[in-house]
């Protein structure tokens, strides 16, 4: 029984990890005042490019880096369009997703059916020997450890560093930030590129760890879930973390429940992770004052520098 439970928890962690990357990346982008709806497209590009790199080189590190680069490249297209040419963020983001779905399918044409063992597990000496806790916490691939570190990093960066303060300021009022003398456009470029890189890594989590293979459209709407997580978590890193695990957890549990033959239609069970995540996050973030404090006021608004 314990072994089943441990196995379940480990799959939950693997299911939540891509969401953490994608959502935290998007959160940083949104905190700078830019709404990038292209997460799904950037994830798919990350997934396919990462998988291709591993397939060709055999190096997992190279695969993850390639995935991050692919996401960054997609984000760069978006950034040039919305910051350079002042295109509408919503439409451009949607276009980026559609573009990413198509392009990744094209690139991955010959990869369908290719097998990969998945990322190597890095067991931490001694700690991973602890019964129960060891295998749950200290025997994962590098991406899982990275996701833990990322939550701390993003939380520290936004809350404790001057650069993070400036980033939030740009998202709160780009006109005031410009008037004081901060380079609004440059800061937003960096935030968008970071979001792209993290979406790319999220794609790598899917194609190299969660289900190590490539199939068309394998992100299956996780990019949109990541976007929703950011909003429902009211732009706070730790709530993103909780939301991602909630979603991952219910996804896995309902699969187990279906396997055990629960008397509920499969469609209802598949719906559960989405519904539960939204309900829980809405409940914990009802406080409108908190929303006002944490939501970037300038989100989605184009910035026209004057004078």
């Amino acid at each position: 029984m314990t072994e089943v439970l441990i196995a379940a928890i480990i799959t939950i962690i693997t299911a939540a990890t891509p969401l953490i990357y994608a959502a935290l990346g998007e959160m940083v982008t949104e905190k700078s005042g830019v709404l990038n709806l292209g997460v799904e497209g950037m994830m798919l590009m990350g997934a396919v490019c990462g998988f291709t790199a591993v397939h060709l080189s055999g190096s997992a590190t190279l695969g993850i880096l390639t995935a991050a680069l692919a996401g960054t490249g997609m984000a760069l297209v978006f950034a040039v369009l919305v910051l350079g040419f002042q295109a509408t963020q919503v439409a451009t983001g949607l276009a980026l997703t559609i573009f990413g779905v198509g392009l990744s399918a094209l690139i991955g044409q010959d990869l369908v059916g290719v097998a990969y063992d998945g990322l190597p597990r890095l067991a931490i000496p001694l700690l991973s020997e602890i019964p129960v806790i060891g295998p749950i916490l200290f025997n994962h691939d590098i991406l899982v450890y990275g996701s833990f570190a990322l939550v701390f990093l993003v939380s520290w960066f936004l809350g404790r560093t001057r650069a993070g303060l400036v980033l939030r300021a740009v998202g709160d009022s780009h006109d005031a930030a410009h008037a004081i003398g901060y380079p609004v456009i440059r800061i937003r470029y960096l935030a968008i590129l970071f979001g792209g890189a993290m979406s790319g890594v999220a794609g790598a989590c899917l194609s190299l760890a969660y289900s190590p293979l490539w199939i068309e459209n394998m992100s299956a709407g996780r990019g949109w879930i990541a976007l929703a997580l950011v909003v429902f978590a009211t732009w706070r890193p730790w709530r993103v973390f909780v939301g991602a695990y909630l979603f991952g957890g219910i996804t896995i549990l309902q699969l187990h429940a279906q396997a055990l033959g629960a008397g509920v239609p499969a469609q209802v069970m598949s719906m559960l992770p989405y519904a539960a995540t939204i309900v829980v996050l809405v409940l914990i973030s009802r406080d409108r004052n908190k929303i006002r404090l944490n939501s970037p006021a300038c989100i989605g608004k184009p910035f026209h520098p004057t004078s």
Binding site: L165, S173, R292
Partner: protein, 515 residues
């Protein structure tokens, strides 16, 4: 005052022959002025006289075409605001550069050139706020603060740089009388310590109260440089405007007409928690009368205006009566048909659509009363003629009536919007901030037009934060505080202090009885 007179050093800032031209306009024509340490120097002029251009050049935002600046006797090249700050010049802008969802502390930190030690900075903020009488809690969030408190953040940001010269661009336009007094105390203390202050304003009594010396600009030129003590507000005004200055005629004291606008027991819950709920508002405005509503921004003025002009409905129909017709359930267009006109505070986006031409903007609110539509088609000739009329009557400076509304300067657009409503001779007119950002001459035009409209029998309700203006044009005055409206008192029997109390939600009559 004695402290300021003791410090008679050589000039801190000298400007010689500054010129700046924009396409088609010579904004500054050989301007010279000189300012000593410890002096409060007024820069006085109407809108478009070139005040803002001049201070932008001093602060390094604009580059002068010709002329030179001497800072403490040495030639100074100020190409960017950073250069100005390094020399010791600080500026408080008319529009604040603040971040609403951040704390006071974070806002101040963001205004500094580089990262500061948080503990030391917090101490500095507290020190400065105590020393200069600028009470401010570093942990409050900006969106919870009043405009006066927000201005204090900007001032503290400046003072942290320990400036030698403080430039203030129309700092009192949004403050209550009490807040103005407080600001003046701070400024006097600063100049007592040897800081020079360049004070830009077109409010003459403030300049009389605060400044020693005034440089008066008109059409980009210096027309006079005077000792304020030797001038009267009247003489300052005529120098500033180049013509005799007349105040608007008070009401002719004629009999009050019938009640044209009645508001009875109006309750309206706030839309969200940052809005204000209107509570049991009672007011009657008679024909031929101007009633002013004073109040600090954000006390329900916006909500009251939206409820009155029909943007928000869902209240019992009888709560608002227009010429005896219950209309609280009607939307804006039916109310316009009944004779209501309104000018909201926000010019772009609320009163006018920036990307449409003046003609089209005129059409939007006047087509019903003036019959500018025929079977749903626009009568363009009539529309243009009406717009031309407004432009010439209210002296709106624009390239053409087909120019985009967004291309006009704020003051000119305000004149157009107010003129558009007045010119359709409404039965009831509601105006928010009628002369906001409009220069003294044009403000007179607007006020006279309002008075003229009242004399024709219209009922006029004016919401403004400018008390002097309200005192000047209103017959009766009320104050709004946290969504509750005080009874309207006749202006002739009310003092500014009493209105200040009313704006704070107190009843001045009870207060005087108690005392």
């Amino acid at each position: 005052m004695t402290a300021t007179q003791n410090i008679r050093k050589s000039a801190l800032l000298e400007i010689e022959g500054m010129c700046k031209s924009f396409p088609g306009v010579l904004a500054n024509d050989r301007i010279s002025l000189s300012l000593r340490s410890g002096e409060i120097h007024a820069l006085l002029g109407e809108n478009g006289a070139g005040k803002s251009t001049l201070v932008k050049m001093i602060y390094g935002i604009l580059k002068p075409d010709a002329g030179r600046m001497l800072w403490k006797g040495k030639a100074a090249g100020i190409d960017r605001p950073v250069d100005a700050r390094q020399l010791g010049i600080a500026m408080v802008f008319q529009h604040f550069s603040l971040f609403e969802s951040m704390s006071v502390f974070e806002n101040i930190l963001l205004g500094l050139e580089r990262d500061a030690d948080p503990v030391a900075l917090r101490k500095d903020i507290v020190d400065i706020s105590v020393r200069y009488g600028l009470p401010l809690d570093p942990d409050r969030h900006v969106y919870t603060l009043s405009v006066g408190e927000r201005q204090r953040i900007e001032i503290i940001r400046c003072l942290l740089q320990k400036p030698d010269l403080l430039v203030m661009d129309e700092p009192t336009s949004v403050l209550t009388p009490q807040e103005v007094d407080r600001l003046f105390e701070t400024l006097r203390r600063l100049c007592g310590e040897g800081v020079g202050i360049l004070y830009i304003s077109h409010k003459l009594d403030e300049i009389k109260a605060l400044c020693e010396h005034a440089t008066i600009l008109r059409n980009g030129k210096v027309v006079a440089s005077v000792d304020v003590a030797e001038e009267t507000t009247q003489s300052l005004a005529s120098k500033m405007m180049g013509k005799e200055f007349r105040t608007a005629e008070q009401s002719s004291g004629q009999e009050k007409g019938p009640v044209r606008l009645g508001i009875h027991g109006l309750d309206h819950p706030a839309r969200d928690q940052f809005g204000i709920s209107l509570r049991n508002v009672e007011l009657e405005v008679h024909g031929g009368e101007i009633v002013g509503i004073a109040g600090v921004a954000g006390n329900g003025q916006g909500e009251l205006l939206r409820v009155l002009n029909g943007e928000e409905t869902g209240i019992p129909a009888e709560a608002i009566m227009l010429d005896g017709t219950a209309c609280a359930h009607l939307g804006p267009n039916p109310r316009r048909a009944l004779g209501l006109a309104s000018v909201p505070e926000e010019r772009l986006g609320h009163a006018a659509i920036p990307s449409l031409s003046l003609v089209e903007n005129a059409l939007l609110t006047t087509c019903q009363r003036l019959g500018l539509l025929k079977f749903g088609f626009i009568n363009r000739g009539k529309c243009s003629a009406f717009s031309e009329q407004v432009v010439s009557d209210f002296n709106v400076k624009c390239s053409h009536v087909n120019a985009e509304a967004g291309s006009l300067s704020g003051g000119n657009l305000q004149k157009f919007v107010v003129g558009r409503e007045i010119s359709q001779s409404p039965a009831v007119m509601i105006v928010s901030q009628p002369t906001w950002g409009v220069d003294a001459g044009a403000a007179q035009t607007v006020r006279s037009a309002l008075r003229g409209l009242a004399n024709q029998g219209a009922a006029i309700l004016v919401l403004s934060q400018d008390l002097d203006e309200l005192m000047e044009i209103s017959d009766r005055i009320a104050a709004i505080c946290a969504g509750a409206l005080s009874p309207a008192l006749p202006v002739a029997e009310t003092s500014v202090e009493q209105i200040g109390l009313m704006m704070a939600g107190l009843d001045p009559r009870q207060d005087t009885e108690a005392a």
